[in-house]
């Protein structure tokens, strides 16, 4: 082999994830992501409002088949995501350390992310049994209430805990049959893009999870106001953000779920009640008679 003998590494392009594909942002813009020495690590996409709208279209299209998927299969797919993430542990640890997390903490975060997926995989065919009811109405009717997914959920993933926070918010949404559009951590977006690759390799149908990178300030309004989004989850910001998100969400009576300042590393950060937050209760009546 000619040359000096040191191989020139191939540098990864970090793109967004919409409808099971990895396009660049339609806006053609990028954000230069720097490490602590101000060296450019990557040029990540500066996602636009148009990207978001495209992602919502994909998520809406994916909603019907995904919500029809059996609980057993959704559980297996979440388990498969965990398997794929386990196989790529080193890559995620490296990305986290590249973005300033200590190696020890990075390992902990990746392990916790895998375990969280297993946790929610196991809930897929159980949360309905916890939260459903047969209601003893006094008339001659059979009456029962079950949970159904709310629909398309927009998620502003936490800025800190860029992998575990993302996984902790996406898993309860999709295990319940919703589809989602996620805005990755602005500060540390790399793991979100690599997580999209994990999803892509895990039999998650295209459009079920869509992941954008970009600026909070530019995109939060659209995440909150879009008329075909049924619920919004947000994880950062003070009362001004909370106010602005809910004001815009009111346009189509979105469910607004605040998970600000959660410590995603603890066991208390996982619960079937998080699944329930993006579920609707449906009650069905039928007469009893001949």
């Amino acid at each position: 082999m000619a040359g000096s003998g040191t191989r020139v590494p191939v540098i990864k392009t970090y793109k967004i994830y919409i409808d099971g594909k990895f396009p660049r942002t339609e806006s053609g813009r990028s954000i230069a992501l720097e490490d602590s020495d101000n060296a450019v690590i990557a040029n990540v996409c500066r996602g636009s409002r148009k990207d978001f709208r495209n992602a919502v279209v994909a998520a809406r299209k994916a909603f019907d088949p995904w919500s029809d998927t059996s609980a057993y299969l959704r559980g297996q797919i979440l388990y498969r995501i965990a398997e794929m993430l386990e196989g790529r542990r080193e890559q995620f640890v490296a990305e986290l350390t590249l973005q300033g997390v200590s190696r020890r903490m990075a390992k902990k975060e990746v392990d916790a992310s895998i375990d969280r997926l297993i946790y929610y995989a196991g809930w897929s065919d159980k949360y309905q049994q916890i939260f459903s009811a047969v209601n003893p109405v006094s008339s001659s009717h059979f009456n029962f209430s079950v949970l159904e997914p709310t629909g398309v959920v927009s998620i502003l993933a936490p800025n800190e805990s860029s992998l575990l926070g993302l996984v902790s918010n996406v898993a309860p949404v999709i295990v319940g049959g919703n589809t989602c559009v996620v805005l990755a951590s602005e500060k540390s977006p790399l793991c979100a893009v690599s997580f999209a690759e994990v999803l892509h390799a895990s039999d998650v149908p295209g459009g079920v999870v869509n992941i954008l990178t970009g600026y909070r300030e530019e995109l939060t309004g659209q995440f909150a106001s879009h008329m075909d989004v049924n619920a919004i989850v947000y994880c950062d910001g003070g009362s001004d953000v909370a106010k602005s998100v809910q004001e815009k969400a009111a346009e189509n009576i979105k469910r607004v779920i605040s998970r600000v300042d959660e410590d995603w590393s603890v066991d208390a950060a996982q619960s079937p009640y998080l699944i329930k937050q993006t579920q609707e209760t449906k009650t069905t009546w039928h007469p009893i008679g001949s």
Partner: protein, 490 residues
Amino acid sequence: MSTEPTKLAFNDGWQYAPARESTDHFSIAAQHELFINGEFIAPESGRYFETINPATEEIISSVALASAADVDRAVKAARKAYKGAWSKMSGADRGKYIFRIARILQERAREFATIESMDGGKPIRESRDIDIPLAAAHFFYNAGWADKLEYAFPGRRPKSLGVAGQVIPWNFPLLMAAWKIAPALACGNTVVLKPAETTPLTALKLAEVILEAGLPPGVVNIVTGAGETGAAIVNHPDVDKVAFTGSTEVGRIIQRSLAGTGKKYTLELGGKAANIIFADAAIDQAVEGIVNGIFFNQGHVCCAGSRLFVQESVADEVIRKLKDRMETLIVGDPLDKNTDIGAINSAAQLETIQSYLKIGQEEGAEMYQSSCRLPDRGYWCRPTIFTGASQSNRIVQEEIFGPVLAIQTFRTLEEGLTKANNTPYGLSGGVWTDKGSKIFKMTRKIRAGVIWANTFNKFDPTSPFGGYKESGVGREGGLHGLDAYLKLEV
């Protein structure tokens, strides 16, 4: 043999003599005050408004108009009661007070039913058989939860929220008050409730019941007024939870105004329910279901089956039978036990309904109304259907809140489903078929919170109620309705 199908002719041979509910067994005060801190007190402004009987246009009583200052007094009383007796009381004792309310309501049921029909215009048959017994049942059901809440939320410790501010509509005045107050109290909260300005009387009668039941002062406060009074409750900084039932338009304003406050809220908003009739349905029963779906309570029902979808092959038959059945409906005096459809709740609502009748015809749908005679005074609307309506028509897309049905047809299940779900609302839905698997397919796929299969407009305190999409947030009733009045601690 004639090919003409047999006409349903119920009226031949049936004459109904008037059977008017008596009003001599109770009295209605000429003036009503606010109920704050266990006392009936005059509004700070000294202002009153009139509540009228929509069937006669006569003034029944004048009612205190609560200002922001009055609301503040009510919230302070509720806070004091919360910090004092109510939050320290055991669940079992709290439950006993709520049971008492249920019992007294049952004892005074006829008085409540009659006043409800006088103040709101609904037929006595409905207020007597549905509104009042269901209101009592809501108190009875929720009373039993007061000392059992920890069983409802596995892995969590339920805690009360504090003061609940509640704003209710005019279509089921006492029943809505019960839906709101009973779970709030069972969960250990205190309440400031505002009934609608056109139907305040039964809520104020309920205040008497609450006094009679001996609840500590301030646990329930009832303030009367219109939108401004409601806004003062919603926006009061010391209210921890807001519960609203009403239009989506107002719900949107409330959700916006609560932004950034951290207050918990439930919204029960508008609807435009699809009632879907398949060719294999029991048609005569389905026709009864259509009538009950849209003409119950003059169509002043957020979950009314106001969009009818009929499978094409039976559309002619269904519409003919529906028209025959409509001819038999008696519209008139709400206090007459024969009456099927009472008075429209207010002049303003009648005007809204009439504007939609005009819009529907201008949009090209064909209007049909029954030929019944209407009383000379009062606010009335004949049962009305529109055939040949299309998806984009305003009478199909917008909530009319009156006895007005928009009818469309469909061929395949998928077409019916797509049309049914083509709405920003998602409160309720109906499906009529004799095939079980089709019922489950439809009831799963209709995006709405309450689905009636081979029935319609049924309610029960054990059964959660509430909407998908723009029909609201949260559930009321049943175990699921408790969530709205609690915080769940780990």
